[in-house]
Symmetry: D2
Subunit: 422 residues, 4 copies
């Protein structure tokens, strides 16, 4: 029996929490889940069969990926699954129950951790109870450890209870943070036959006992990594001989924030991760930054992206420096389908553990399940993005983030019973 | 006898002062001087024979030039000279005296007025004595009226006194302000045989009785007229549909002033005449401005000009607007030759009307006699730019500018006697 | 009988069209209407009794206002009304009909023209038919000539037909363009007892025969006139001695457009009327510009205004220049009341001349009737802003703008009958 | 006998090279020299007696200083000297020879290394011969290891040869890089009685065998550490709630480079070490940078510094963020005295090891011996800054920098014999 098969929902979440893996490094997590589903006879799709390798965005360098594989191996990931992954994380697992002419239902959960350190304060429950992150600078600070556990929980629940008439497809998605994994996972054929589709998120400001039929209308989003490359020179003796990458970056920043607002809806622009490391007496040779744009529709996001590229191009040209950009991540938007929202709401209302049901709520930020949902809807399927309230004192992405584990069972129940009710 | 031939130096200066003509509009002034020199048997070169028409910079529109010709005609300019000018102002006049194998000496004076109104305050002497400008928005506020009078005065003085052994060439240059006339006048062949060359300026902070052997080392200078053309849109209803010429201009201005300083010497940058006329509720369709660069050498001036063009190009590109530039004016730099400076200083020292002689002084600003001087020196000739002190209470280019007319005779004497002494 | 009393609706509109008066200069228009209503026994409120003098925004200089009064006098404005105006345009006129315990109903029309020239093209109907603007640089290019005529038309219609049970108050508002007259007119006590209130606009893209029950949700708006005052210096000889007003303006423009977007709704920013007149060789002493902000709520408008003031303050401080701002105009937002919208829609539907009725439509831009409407609603009254379709080939604010005069009668009918139906 | 006393000039330089200590961390170097001079009966001034503690600029954090002391102790620095230093590096050592009424002569050498890694390439002589840096991220890449050795060499040479009639004061200065140590060392009383003063530098582009009587006219220089502190917010959900430290930094950078050029001479501005670490989806909470200004005179440097502070203040104010600056370093300028230059040149000319003597040369960059030289000259003393040619293939401050050790003896000879010749 696989290791994960022996763990309760709560134990599984804690095991994953203690071994967080950030985007495109989820080798242990993928292998852990794959092994457990293998035990139950699910058909597994791994590596290139789960994710379109060349469409992946924001992939770490080969060294970093190699080190992540080695770490996963040391932490017990079975070699067989690591082999099948061939450097690419992510898993699609499917099983048909009952009447195989029944509908194919997809459930997507994300697995990646954040690149940040976890609090070791004794008041922080994972620290106190011994399941805090054992990986420096990685932490499950957004609840994806819980999502992954719920994903396996749904498989067990349906499998144990005889399932439903149809096929269950579970999408264990890598690299949600930054919007890097959704699009390459949507590029496989596994979504083609999905009639009903659910993604889910814990927390997001709602307490345990609340269920949201649909989080929807995320802002479309794109991220650009930018590097300006100029020519250094001594700022005292030869200021005219340099080509100043920092002036290019400053001009770009000023003008990026000044991209015109759009009459058709909300747009966003922000710049982060700025670094120009030259000492103050040398004209800057290099400046790096990361630009993020958003729009309330895919069109508005494209508008911002096109304008941003224009600003970057000419900020470089103005200061006679070259520049490179690479797309770090990208998401789109969606609205949920009534049939799904109504069914989720009905199911949630019927549960003793649920005290409040909200049919629809805007999600606010961006979300890369958007690409999978959009794909399902374009194929004629119905989809929603379910919110599972999970009380937590500290905000998502902070060092003290934690979730109320009582929400795990609620997540399993809402999704499993919705599948049966469809 | 021509009208000007009957006027004293002082009367002539006042007549010109009362009828100021700004750059490329000096039809009356040119004709006035041409007629007076014709009376004395000088050979006249007018129109295309004085100035290379197509190299002229910063020429007003055809309408404006036509109106200036009509005005000159109404104010008594003889038709014959207007015909020869054929729309191009400026005059080269020459006469050989004594031994024709003697040297050819060139003297350059400028004739243009400024585009500004003159004070009508009673305390302003031209107003009080009735020779204030009769042309709205034009004024001799830099002393070129005096320069022109001195030019004719030198011709008279040499002609009346039997001249010297050699040939005198007088260059009555148009459009000095803005550095627009010097280069096209230097493009003719009239400088080819010049052995000695003098230009001169009144005032410049030095009182009557002071003579400077050489004003020199002006900053090289170039001016660009710039127009950004975008696309208007309603700033409330369709901010995204505009292409904002004003944002392009603001980005350009910020980055023009930030052109890197140069290790090899002084550089300058400035922007003026900025206008973007759109009402505040319309995205700016057009923005215009004039950019000026300088350098302590021609190379540094080119450095600045190249950088400025780069900034303008990419400011336009960044905001998706088109732009046009035209060179409005350009000057270069020079140093005076010892032989000339020494001779001028010796002559000046010998004059009763001269109380102080300064051999050399940096001129500070820019000066378009530079192109003529450079040309003479390249041909192997010697040149200087003589300063004739002329007391005046208010600064050059102000509404109250005036000059001490006693300086006119000093100017004539210094130059005439220097010619004889060479 | 007053001159205007003898004119048909169409003749009146053409008379006003031929004598356009821009904001705060509507002396002839005000007097014309006052005299006609005087004939019919309306009580007139003029000058300080119509508009709070010191709250007026964007008032032209005294010279300009004096000249406008003189022009009005020459064009036949009776002295008595000019006296009562005492330099302040605008009129409130009231009359009680039937049962004086009936409701007080307010109707607001605006009277001002735009500062632009009208086309003299023969294809332009006003030119062809001889009622084009006789005032250079002023033109009724937004239909306020028609609004004014409709205002008088409503008075005539109700007065001739025996009125209704209640009091009619007509607000002939000055200076709508720029949002300058609404607020000072709302500051009087005349709105205090209004139970029902209507403003109206012709055209706005809707053809003759269409009626809109409510144009609503304009963007709140504020305009700032800004002048930066620095210190001039010669850009070649003393660049460090200047304090550069143009650099301040450019820094301000760059950062104004970069004011952060707001999560709560739409915001806008734009800059126009930029001028810095220094010649290119002088560091800019002065730079002027007009800034406009908007928000989909009054709060968002205030957010933008506060941020804009902060940018301006520190752009000035950064370049060591002083600056002055004055509020040129300001509007707020509103939504219409159901009772009014329904009544207008019912009335319009019943008219033969009306072919299409749209209950509500967003107005898009900004509108300074907003202050009057808001005031009425705060006092417990009901209000709407009625749209009267009026076909016209060329857009509002263009040189070829004209309106289909058939819309005038529709405007009178819709409002008059709505008043009776309330 | 102290450890250093047993080492040759070359061995001493290599020992110091292998144990580089960057600014304010020179505990081992100071102790090494102090011990060797103690052996020879020099009077030592250490700690607060060598440097004005509170005037030190750019001092690392207490942790870093503590670690440097510990490292020095481990690497053999005698506890006694560490105690006297009390956390402050730098040494003044003096000894009177012969006739004590003779002049007091000061010699200043600097001791600090750079914060950079040294090449481990086999072709790099220190690597090849085993004296490369043993301290990660510290390297003697500017020749101060040689300067320190020469300083001790001069003491030995004079002491061994019976000295001269007068008092020798040796200034072993810390933290020259960045201009941080000169000013606080000049604040002690040790310069008060100096009649003759020499500083020196190896290399700077001149080959072994060349001696420069005076490197002079460095640019005055100041460095500011700047931190903008704003307020983070989610760039998608609440862009208006942040206060953007990065926008402040970008506005500052744009406007810093645009500080007006100065008519009186050369100025410089540059920005380096820019970092704003927020992820791209968070409005930047913090941005840090280092600004450097220069001027060809102390006044011009102050002009730039004052302008830079103004820009920084208002860039912060514009974006509603706070900011802190601390002066990281500051230097001034100087010209050498003829008596010193002539004597050095005469001495150098007489040496067999010297093949070329250049009396004076502009140093180009900035140099913080300037404060000591200025202080000596203000007290009526004479000073120069001697250049000792030292061939090296790779530039100063690069990973491959090294010096020809033959130059060490030349340095000792030139300075020692100049002292005797004065």
């Amino acid at each position: 029996m696989a290791y994960a098969s022996s763990l309760s929902l709560r134990e599984l979440r804690r095991d994953i929490h203690a071994h967080p893996e950030s985007g495109w490094k989820e080798f242990r997590t993928t292998a852990l889940i794959a092994a457990a589903l293998d035990d139950r006879g699910f058909t597994l799709h791994l590596g290139d069969d789960a994710v379109v390798r060349e469409e992946r965005l924001g992939v770490p360098s080969d060294d970093v990926v190699e080190a992540a594989i080695d770490r996963a191996r040391e932490e017990g990931a079975p070699e067989a699954y690591l082999d099948q992954m061939d450097g690419v994380t992510g898993l699609v697992a499917e099983k048909t129950f009952g009447d195989e002419s029944g509908p194919t239902v997809g459930v997507r959960v994300d697995m990646d951790a954040l690149e940040r350190s976890e609090s070791t304060d004794e008041a922080h429950r994972p620290a106190e109870m011994g399941f805090g992150s054992t990986h420096p600078s990685e932490m499950h600070a957004c609840g994806h450890d819980g999502h992954t556990a719920i994903g396996l929980g749904i498989a067990r629940e349906l499998d144990d209870s005889g399932g439903f008439d149809g096929t269950l497809k579970l999408f264990f998605q890598p690299a949600e943070e930054g919007g890097r994994g959704g699009k390459p996972m949507s590029g496989t054929t596994h979504l083609d036959d999905i009639e009903y589709f659910m993604a889910l998120h814990l927390g997001l400001g709602n307490p345990t006992g609340t269920v949201i039929g649909a989080y929807e209308n995320p802002l479309s989003n794109a991220k650009l990594d930018v590097t300006f490359e100029g020519e250094p020179s001594h700022a005292g003796n030869a200021p005219n001989e340099g080509r100043n990458a920092l002036q290019a970056a400053a001009t770009a920043i000023q003008n990026l924030y000044a991209i015109p607002r759009h009459a058709d809806g909300a747009t966003r622009i922000n710049v982060g991760k700025v670094e120009s490391a030259n000492p103050q007496n040398i004209v800057a040779e290099e400046a790096r930054m990361r630009v993020e744009v958003r729009g309330s529709s895919a069109e508005l996001n494209e508008y911002m992206l096109e304008k941003a590229r224009r600003v970057l191009t000419h900020a470089a040209g103005m200061h006679d420096v070259s520049f490179e950009t690479s797309l770090y991540g990208k998401t789109t938007t969606f609205s949920a389908d009534d049939e799904m929202v109504d069914t989720v709401a009905d199911v949630a209302t019927s549960l003793d553990t649920v005290s409040e049901v909200v049919p629809r709520m805007d999600i606010g930020g961006s979300e890369d399940a958007s690409y999978l949902i959009q794909q399902v809807q374009e194929n004629g399927g119905n989809a929603t993005y379910v919110g599972i309230g999970a009380s937590n004192e500290f905000g998502h992405h902070t060092a003290r983030f934690d979730i109320d584990e009582d929400a795990l069972a609620i997540g399993v129940d809402v999704v499993s019973q919705t599948i049966r009710a469809l």
